[in-house]
Amino acid sequence: MSGEIIGTYAVAICLLIGAGFVTVGVIGLLKFNDPMTRLHAPTKVGTIGIGMLLLASMIHSFTFGQTSLHELLIMSFLFVTAPISANFIAKVNIHRRACETPPEPPRDDTWSTLNSPENGRSTSGDDAEKAA
């Protein structure tokens, strides 16, 4: 009986923490004023917010009824894929020049994200010479 009460309180606190992080992340997505800055906030929604909701789901299934650890699978999948999608969106921002362009790399011609081979072959001269 006592364990059930502790489990209920733990589920409620995990839900509140998750809801708070979701709210903060989405407000950051809406209120920040730069595309790269906006990229920072919603990653918290994906990791801590949803992680806390999944933890609450696990504790709930531990406390009432059958035990299940399926949610660990979703949690690990989200933790693995969140940096990859954030990296892709940052590359989109650099590619569309929506942010400050990074400084030129020391040895190469340009960043591969910014390289557009169809506009004149001068940016990738070595490859064009090899092909010709």
């Binding site: 409620a12 906006r38 699978l73």
Partner: protein, 95 residues
């Protein structure tokens, strides 16, 4: 026991409201986002919020059948985000 259950009910209502407000606010960002990266990011956040809503519905009804739904939403959301970003970057998804 009743105090704990009441607290859980209040927390669940707060979480439902927070996630629904998150969907609405990220849809605002999706509508007025000035750049393409913002729109992709807003769509990604909306998919993650939908995943959270499905998980919350599973807690609310006390059933386990929503696990497959949320796993499928997570996988499809990641794949669609990568496909959108890759289409912007390369003009093609599978080269």
């Amino acid at each position: 026991m009743t105090a704990a259950t009441g607290f859980l009910d209040v927390a669940m209502i707060i979480a439902f409201v927070a996630l629904a407000a998150g969907q609405i606010l990220s849809m605002v960002r999706l509508t007025l986002g000035p750049t393409t990266g913002d729109r992709i990011l807003a769509l990604d956040t909306m998919v993650i919020n939908a995943l959270g809503l499905v998980v919350l519905l599973g807690i609310y009804q006390g059933v386990q059948i929503y696990f497959e739904v949320s796993l499928l939403i997570a996988m499809l959301g990641f794949v669609s985000t990568v496909a959108l970003a890759r289409f912007i970057l390369r003009g093609d998804i599978i080269e």
